[in-house]
């Protein structure tokens, strides 16, 4: 709202995901592949393996075409894209870490130069010197990963930075080292996976066999190490943050599952390639790469989505509002916007006056500045999809918007603005998937729970609903008449008598099924 919001109909989040995932899949190859080049060259020269050297020369050209061209442009592409989609976060990252970026740029420059000299030097340089360029390439590429990793992990676990703003405190944050080890293992595995591609188009089956076996040494141990490294990584993520990926929030949980599944598939495929290494086919090697891309993309999705509601943890929300008031925030923090109103605070908003006649129009503007960094109306993370599942009318939407920060393990920032603005946003959101207030409501307990409660509550013993709702259905139903009196932050949902009874009975059934103890009669 300090900056204009780029209105991407199919979803700004999808665009950055696309650019970023393709980039990381190449940039990790750029690191691991560099080590692969020099070590393979050393091995080939040591064994006097002319065919292997000849293949490696062609592989180098492939490596440069993929990493130096696509890798470098898509890396700049991430900058372009995050600057377009999240200028406030980008500006913060640039200002806080400009010397980090500048140091990374030095390594980037050395890396690109060394890669080109290594490629062009195959027929021109004596072997030792040629490998010298290879080593410089790898060291520079690894060093740039060392730097970027600090900034990426800072966004997830900012450590004590939001308190002291010290460069190194944010840089060497809790997930720095596990993330570096994890990413380096991925980089080594990708070196072998990409090598399968150029190997598969060779004709000499003996050579193919040698390269596939050599590549397996890069892929198999690295992938086998990933679960251990992931454990270490997860251990350093605050448990309440990681909870999003272990059931509390659907998106990160789904992608965590996919990451594990696709990692296993990649591992199995890599082992399968060893059965008949001399006959490895291009289609097979591309399949391995595609599955690995899926695994890596899923991992990045998990990291990005558990970071929500923040874009920089404990500092800046995904919708560019500062979590707390800080000096120089221009009033773009939740408390300030709650008192001044979003229409008066946001710079890039067309309509600043709210009337009864243009509720939905103004609501659309509020949606653009507060929600569009993650959501669309009908496409990526589209509200139509969620509303179709929940069947909320305008009143319920308005009530629910008041508690966004409690939904799905707090994966969304709170709504910031006045009550009138919340009503306007609800009017717009409701227009995406209109449900009349008089529409018949679901009356079976499970549906009532899924449509009204599952955003914040989960079936487990520590959940307030399952822990505290009275066991007797009549008492429970009576208690749920006025939800805000149960807990002031609950939305005032106005469930029907039939719905409340059904919900209470369903809760009891779940307690029985999951061995959850109900409170003593009369408890709450």
């Amino acid at each position: 709202m300090n900056y204009p919001v780029w209105d991407v109909a199919f979803g700004a989040g999808l665009l950055i995901a696309l650019v970023a995932i393709l980039h990381v899949f190449v940039s990790h190859f750029a690191v691991g592949g560099g080590l692969f080049l020099v070590l393979t060259e050393r091995k080939a020269r040591h064994k006097n393996d002319a065919e292997l050297l000849d293949w490696l020369k062609r592989h180098t050209r492939f490596f440069v075409l993929v990493t130096v061209v696509f890798g470098a442009v898509s890396g700049v592409g991430i900058w372009f894209t995050i600057g377009l989609i999240s200028p406030v976060a980008t500006s913060n990252l640039i200002h806080a870490y400009v010397w980090g970026w500048a140091i990374e740029w030095i390594f980037f420059f050395l890396e690109i130069t060394a890669a080109l000299l290594y490629m062009y030097g195959w027929d021109k340089l004596e072997p030792r010197l040629h490998q010298w360029y290879g080593w410089i390439y790898f060291i520079a590429a690894f060093a740039s990963m060392v730097i970027i990793n600090g900034i990426i992990t800072f966004m997830l676990t900012s450590g004590s930075w939001p308190k002291n703003y010290e460069f190194w405190k944010g840089f060497f944050n809790p997930t720095y080292f596990p993330s570096l080890a994890f990413r380096f293992a991925i980089a080594l595995a990708l070196a072998g996976i990409y090598a399968l591609i150029t190997t598969s188009v060779q004709k000499d089956s003996a050579l193919k066999t040698r390269i596939v076996r050599w590549s397996a040494w890069w892929i198999v141990p690295s992938l086998a190490a990933l679960p251990l490294l992931a454990r270490w990584y997860i251990h350093r993520i605050p448990p309440d943050v990681w909870a999003s990926a272990s059931g509390s929030a659907p998106t990160p949980t789904l992608y965590a599952g996919m990451a594990v599944f696709l990692l296993i598939v990649t591992f199995v495929l890599a082992l399968l390639s060893l059965i008949r290494p001399g006959r490895i086919h291009l289609a097979f090697s591309l399949l391995v790469a595609l599955v690995a891309l899926g695994a890596m993309g899923s991992f990045e999705f998990v990291r990005e989505s558990i970071r929500k509601p923040y874009v920089i943890s404990n500092y800046l929300y995904a919708n560019s509002l500062y979590a707390k008031q800080i000096q120089g925030d221009g009033g773009f923090n939740v408390d300030a916007v709650n008192s001044a109103g979003i229409l008066q605070t946001a710079k890039w908003i067309k309509v600043r006056e709210l009337t009864a006649a243009d509720q939905a129009t103004v609501g659309r503007e509020i949606f653009r500045v507060e929600c569009e960094s993650c959501h669309t109306a009908n496409s990526y993370r589209g509200l139509r999809h969620y509303l179709a599942l929940r069947k909320w009318d305008e009143n319920k939407i308005q009530a629910m918007i008041g508690g966004l920060e409690f939904m799905h393990n707090g994966i969304m920032p709170p709504f910031a603005g006045t009550d009138q603005e919340r009503a306007a946003l609800a009017a717009y959101v409701s227009s995406i998937y209109p449900v009349a207030a008089t529409a018949p409501v679901a009356a079976d307990g499970k549906t009532v729970f899924m449509q009204n409660c599952s955003m914040c509550h989960r079936v487990n013993a520590s959940d307030a609903l399952f822990k505290n709702l009275p066991k007797d259905a009549n008492t429970a139903s009576e208690a749920m008449k006025d939800l805000t009196s149960l807990f002031p932050l609950m939305p005032d949902l106005k469930l029907t008598e039939q719905q409340r009874m059904a919900l209470a009975q369903w809760v009891n059934a779940q307690r029985t099924a999951h061995g959850i103890e109900a409170p003593m009669e009369g408890g709450n």
Partner: protein, 372 residues
């Protein structure tokens, strides 16, 4: 009239080094970026002219492939060096450049696609040869057109970034990012100013190709010198017309900066003009007398001074445009002493290592030949 409150507030983080450090880094890295860009784009344009326009077709083809082989190195040089001014411009002018970028988001995003395609095009051409040209000419032309468009989009964005009065109307008319800055009077002359400079530098690049071949293949080198030198001459002459157009298109207050209102801007302008005239006179003499030293050392030296002056002028012009909204004195500074010195040490070490890499490869003389 714009709503005055559209200018984003400053980033809450202070500048992590003094303002002048960033200004210096921005200008220095911009000069290096623009030189690499000029060699790349201008070299490609001149190579195409050689292929299609040179009277001697054999010579034209040879020049074409000689330059084409260098483009896959010049384009990454342009991009890699360009990352630095992109970084520093965000540090100083992020409020303006992010906003203008969002307003023309889709064209700005397309830069990435065009760049990738143009890049692969250059590689395609570089893997071809005179014996097997394939579609080298057409592919090269396509890449050049794409880079031409990228340059045009950069001109759009940078002019839009320094004219906030246009922002509101454009954004609110189309927040989906399909905007350009076509109504800006300086847009076309400014863009042409850069493009014509690129062609001139492309000509100079051929002079360097002549220098590299002077002893090995004297006859070829002589012809390349003539072709490159003339390209430089004609482009630089054209630059005077384009430059005057650009100057006239500037708002009067800005124009007068270079015509007496600002002693520094005026002095730089005069040095630039004098340098341009001197380069033309010296190059035409060098071509007449086949004086390679003047063409390959003295003229490029003068051109380097001219580019440096022009880059500082460009910076002064931007500050003049942004004067109502941008006051460096308001930006808080807090130098990150825990990391800034590390950058300086690594920067110097990096430059040394880079030079050693080039030297060991043989860029500055003898090359270690393969023992294979």
């Amino acid at each position: 009239m714009m709503q005055p409150n559209l200018i984003p507030v400053l980033d809450p983080n202070p500048l992590p080094a003094p303002y002048w450090v960033f200004v210096s880094l921005l200008i220095i890295t911009f000069v290096l970026h623009i030189v690499a860009m000029n060699f790349m784009l201008g070299g490609a344009v001149v190579a195409l002219m050689a292929k299609w326009r040179a009277k001697n077709r054999v010579l034209g083809n040879r020049v074409f492939f000689d330059v084409a082989k260098k483009l896959p190195s010049l384009l990454p040089a342009t991009i890699t060096i360009g990352v630095a001014p992109l970084l520093f411009v965000q540090v100083l002018y992020g409020r303006f450049i992010y906003t203008s970028s969002v307003i023309m988001a889709w064209p700005w995003f397309l830069v990435l696609i065009f760049l990738t395609v143009a890049y692969y095009g250059f590689y395609y051409v570089s893997f071809r040869s005179g014996q097997h040209p394939g579609r080298a000419g057409t592919v090269m032309l396509s890449s050049v057109i794409l880079i031409f468009i990228i340059g045009f989009l950069f001109s759009n964005n940078l002019t839009l970034s320094q004219t906030p009065s246009r922002w509101g109307a454009k954004y609110f008319a189309d927040p989906s990012g399909w905007n350009l800055n076509l109504s800006e009077p300086t847009l076309i002359p400014r863009f042409l100013h850069f493009f014509v400079a690129a062609v001139a530098l492309g000509g100079l690049f051929l002079v360097f190709v002549a220098l590299a071949n002077w002893k090995r293949d004297h006859e070829y080198a002589r012809q390349v010198l003539q072709f490159g030198g003339k390209s430089f001459l004609y482009a630089t002459m054209a630059q005077f017309a384009v430059g005057i157009w650009f100057l006239i298109s500037l708002p009067r207050g800005m124009r007068m900066l270079f015509m007496g209102d600002s002693p520094l801007a005026t002095a730089l302008f005069l040095v630039g003009l004098t340098g341009g005239v001197a380069a033309i006179v010296l190059m035409s003499g060098a071509l007449r007398n086949e004086n390679l030293r003047v063409a390959a050392y003295l003229v490029p030296g003068i051109v380097a001074v001219v580019i440096a002056c022009m880059s500082v002028m460009r910076d002064l012009l931007r500050d003049a445009y942004l004067n109502p909204w941008f006051n460096p004195g308001q930006i808080a500074e807090k130098t990150q002493w825990s990391v800034f010195p590390l950058f300086l040490v690594l920067f110097v070490s990096g430059v040394i290592l880079w030079l050693v890499m080039l030297a060991r490869y043989g860029f500055f003389g003898s090359r270690k030949e393969s023992a294979q």
